[in-house]
């Protein structure tokens, strides 16, 4: 009988998981549908000579332990730019600039300066508690022995150790809509707009929705300011792949898994789209939970209630990507040339963000979307021909399940987004060499992300910690013996962090069962 472990998908989490398993002496084979490693953490050419991070573009919370343990620096991982500033674009004047800790410039209301510093300080403390759970398997809610109860007891203790005031704040805020928190904390619209973006990006939530504070905290479990690696996001994955290969992992690209094979309740290997059958003692899926169970396993192999929970898991992405090849650097209104390479936001107020969300509720795209812009070619000129640039923008809200479908409306949406960019950077249109729009539907077909969802499934309290992705799957193990999950759909969620992959490897090595 084979001892091979198959990992479905060479997303960054799959690669992390593979590397740890191989370092523990296991035989690991990674099967990736695409021609490149990295999944949604990938750099690819979208027009001849122009490369962009095709999905994720800023690195927030990559686990430093993984960077260290897998010696990623020796495998080519370096920062092109660390501590990226956030520049909230102002349609009528100077932008507001912050570094995640302090406001750097552009305040409209003096009292917001201290308020921002205090607020971010508090949010980092609260985020730290969530972060402490990231490196662990979530606590069990029912337990057979006191040893199983320990993680839950520890979580309770750590909440208590936050101190009375912080604990109360966490319990008060964790379910709150970000909008209410912003209203009670700040006066300036630009500032509130920028923070509202951090609370909604990647979700199908508006600033007035519950769980947006949670999403905000999730973002700030990482560094207070993001960074950009040399070679774009894909370089993270390339360094992981290199570390994994060095540990003995075999990676097969262009190998789409059509089915995870189950016999008598146990995963026995996979069948590729080509028809090839590969046996395994263990299968770990880095694909999202819906794809894994609905398409690869088949709901009929699960217990009926678990099948229902997976079927009803919320997983509709609303973030699109727009990539633009530019023959010259655009000029954003009121923005210093030195700041163009930072993280530029179009979200001039919390109300703007809220109004952008409204159409998404009814299956329509925002005509005035929020936009997060990065021009990585400024720090990393290898991405574009000399003197040229690439712009990578996350555009939200563009719901995956658009009324009438995306095909008929993608051109109109793209034109709309370009018009918004033109408003903030007059003359922008004249620099365009080529564009690429990836709607959530495209992200699903090209990267296998169900619903194009950032986190492989909405990041809300009902799909968080032990309840992530759904109750019964909260510990990386599944009811199908020898089948595990390791992707962003698991605790602690999405973003290029690698933690789900690292936790999953530990559970696999321990032979954990669900």
């Amino acid at each position: 009988m084979t001892k091979r472990i198959i990992i479905v998908g060479a997303g960054h989490n799959g690669l992390v998981c593979a590397a740890y398993l191989a370092r523990a002496g296991r035989e690991v084979l990674v099967l990736e549908a695409n021609a490149q490693v990295g999944g949604a953490a990938v750099t690819r050419t979208f027009a001849p000579g122009y490369q962009v991070p095709a999905v994720a573009h800023l690195l927030y919370g990559f686990d430093p332990a993984i960077e260290r343990e897998l010696q990623l620096r020796q495998h080519g991982f370096t920062d092109a730019k660390s501590r990226v500033l956030t520049v909230a674009l102002n349609p009528d004047g100077a932008p507001l600039v912050h570094d995640g800790r302090e406001v750097v410039s552009g305040l409209s209301h003096a009292e917001d300066r201290q308020a921002f510093t205090d607020f971010m300080h508090k949010m980092r403390r609260l985020a730290a508690l969530l972060k402490r759970q990231h490196g662990r398997t979530p606590p069990q809610l029912t337990w057979a022995s006191w040893r199983d109860a320990w993680p839950l007891v520890r979580l309770a203790l750590q909440m208590r150790l936050l101190g009375r005031a912080d604990m109360r704040e966490l319990l008060r805020m964790i379910t709150m809509p970000m909008h209410d928190v912003l209203e009670e904390s700040f006066a300036g619209d630009l500032l509130k707009g920028a923070l509202a973006v951090d609370a909604v990006l990647g979700t199908k939530l508006g600033p007035r929705s519950g769980n947006t504070v949670l999403n905000f905290l999730h973002r700030y479990t990482g560094a207070s300011a993001p960074r950009v690696p040399v070679g774009g996001m894909g370089a993270v994955s390339e360094s992981l792949a290199s570390a994994a290969r060095a540990a003995g992992v075999q990676i097969r690209l262009g190998a789409r898994v059509a089915a995870i094979n189950i016999e008598s309740g146990r995963a026995t290997g996979v069948t590729l789209a080509s028809g090839e059958v590969i046996a395994a003692s263990t299968v770990v899926s880095g694909a999202d939970p819906k794809t894994t169970f609905e398409r690869l396993v088949g709901l009929q192999y699960l217990e009926a209630e678990l099948a229902r929970r997976i079927h009803h898991m919320r997983c509709e992405g609303t973030a699109a990507k727009l990539h633009v090849a530019l023959r010259a650097l655009p000029q954003f209104k009121g923005v210093d040339a030195a700041l163009v390479g930072e993280r530029l936001l179009i979200a001039p107020s919390a109300l703007y963000v809220d109004e952008a969300f409204n159409p998404a509720k009814y299956g329509e795209y925002s005509t005035d979307p929020i936009v997060e812009i990065s021009i990585p070619s400024i720090a990393d000129p290898t991405l574009a021909p000399a003197g040229h640039h690439v712009l990578s923008a996350i555009v939200q809200y563009a719901p995956a399940h658009l009324n009438g479908g995306w095909e008929a409306q993608r051109a109109a949406f793209e034109a709309r987004v370009l018009a918004v960019l033109e408003r903030y950077a007059p003359g922008f249109g004249s620099h365009i060499v080529a564009t690429e729009l990836l709607t959530p539907a495209d992200l699903e077909t090209q990267f296998g992300l169900r619903g194009g969802h950032w986190h492989h499934g909405e990041l809300t309290l009902d799909q968080y910690l032990t309840l992530r992705p759904v109750p019964g799957l909260g510990h990386y193990a599944t009811p199908v013996q020898a089948l595990y999950l390791c992707g962003a759909g698991c605790h602690p969620g999405g973003g290029v962090m690698g933690r789900a992959g690292r936790n999953a490897a530990r559970v696999v090595l321990q032979g954990g069962v669900s």
Partner: protein
């Protein structure tokens, strides 16, 4: 085509036999079964029971929840739903089954009719549409509730076969237990299955509701000389306890209704281990039931012979050290075995066959409450199981 549904205007529903059951209900005693008004008793519980065991009696089972399951994955769906191997229920056969939740706790029990290849009817005590729609995810099947589209009568007792012969159902005596066959009935098709809830020789008759009244009339005419009587729920209940059959909501709490985890029962805990087929690789509850098998069950269903003549209704069950080990779920004075009998759920390891238990029975005499502690014997099988139930050709007397 379904007729427009007006049922929501009614507080209560009536079965397709209502005009006939009203006429027969001399006592005017009614209760609800699901939303339907059905007879507790028609003229005398004892005499209805006597007819059932000595001649034959008719019980209106139209309120039974019925679903039709069709589509390419019908068999796979049924097999993932219930714990037994449905592939063994051939077309034209009926099988008793239970289905469990993911904890391996019984949601309901019922009968599966394999109507024609790949077409199943599932009959159950409880409503199941929500559960079946959950269970349907991932299967190419259609699940349609057809409770209102099928009228049904249960004809049970020693002369039931003779009555059906007199009705013109030629060859019915060759139908084996759990078999079914169709006959022409006027314009309609009459489906007859050799099934029932009495532990006796008996049949269930299934027909388009438009022909329900005609069927009732013809049946009573045919059975006139065979002592046919209408049968109410009270008399039926005596018979089903004698036969040792469990009832949802009485002998076990349907798992999807339970709030407290220890209130539900697994098939093992209901003496239904014979319905669990682990050679089947996937069914809901399999993992939990395997774990239970290796860990041991919490409870055991026992059939008791209770000393004395008082029914042990709702009695606590004690062990030899006078510790409470369980409760009686169904109890009755059995006229056939001339004994007080009961079904009870007791904690393991109590209740092995042949071991003594005690029941604490409260009873009233002229408004005064008395208490007695009587010894019970755990029986190996049902109190009443006449050979005619299984014999083919079925006896005509």
């Amino acid at each position: 085509m379904r007729t427009p549904r007006e049922h929501f205007r009614l507080v209560v529903k009536y079965t397709p036999f209502h005009s006939r059951t009203v006429a027969a209900n001399e006592l005017n005693l009614w209760h609800r079964w699901r939303d339907y008004s059905v007879a507790d008793a028609y003229f005398d519980v004892s005499l209805e029971y006597t007819a059932l065991r000595n001649t034959c009696a008719v019980f209106d089972i139209s309120p039974m929840t019925k679903h039709r399951i069709t589509g390419p994955d019908a068999l796979a769906f049924m097999n993932r739903l219930v714990t037994r191997d449905v592939a063994k229920i051939k077309p034209g056969r009926v099988g008793y089954a239970v289905w469990c939740d993911e904890q391996g706790q019984v949601v309901d029990d019922g009968t599966i009719f394999h109507l024609s290849p790949g077409v199943y009817r599932l009959c159950s005590q409880e409503r199941q549409l929500d559960w079946l729609h959950t269970a349907r995810l991932g299967f190419d099947v259609t699940v349609v509730e057809e409770t209102e589209d099928v009228a049904a009568l249960s004809l049970q007792g020693p002369t039931s076969c003779a009555t059906l012969c007199a009705l013109g159902l030629t060859g019915i005596e060759t139908l084996t237990p759990f078999g079914m066959r169709t006959f022409a009935f006027g314009e309609a098709e009459l489906l007859v299955s050799r099934t029932g809830f009495t532990g006796d020789l008996g049949y269930e008759l299934w027909i388009d509701p438009a022909h329900a009244e005609a069927l009732w009339d013809a049946l009573f005419e045919a059975g006139n000389l065979y002592g046919i009587r209408p049968l109410g729920t009270h008399a039926l209940d005596i018979a089903r306890i004698e036969a040792g059959y469990i009832q949802a909501g009485v002998d076990f709490l349907p798992a999807d209704h339970a709030i407290r985890a220890d209130r539900t029962r697994s098939p093992f805990e209901l003496d239904l281990a014979w319905l669990v087929d682990f050679s089947k690789p996937h069914f809901t509850g399999r993992r939990a039931l395997l774990a239970e098998q290796s860990r041991g069950s919490r409870y055991r269903l026992v059939r008791l012979d209770v000393a004395g003549n008082k029914p042990a209704t709702d009695a606590y069950v004690y062990d030899a050290k006078r510790r409470v080990v369980g409760t009686v779920t169904s109890a009755v004075w059995s006229p056939m075995s001339k004994a007080s009998i009961a079904l009870a759920s007791v904690a393991m390891p109590h209740g092995a066959v042949g071991t003594p238990l005690w029941a604490e029975i409260y009873y009233q005499k002229e408004l005064k409450w008395n208490r007695t502690n009587v010894e019970c014997t755990v029986l190996a099988g049902p109190s009443y199981d006449p050979p005619r139930r299984k014999v083919t050709p079925a006896p005509m007397r």
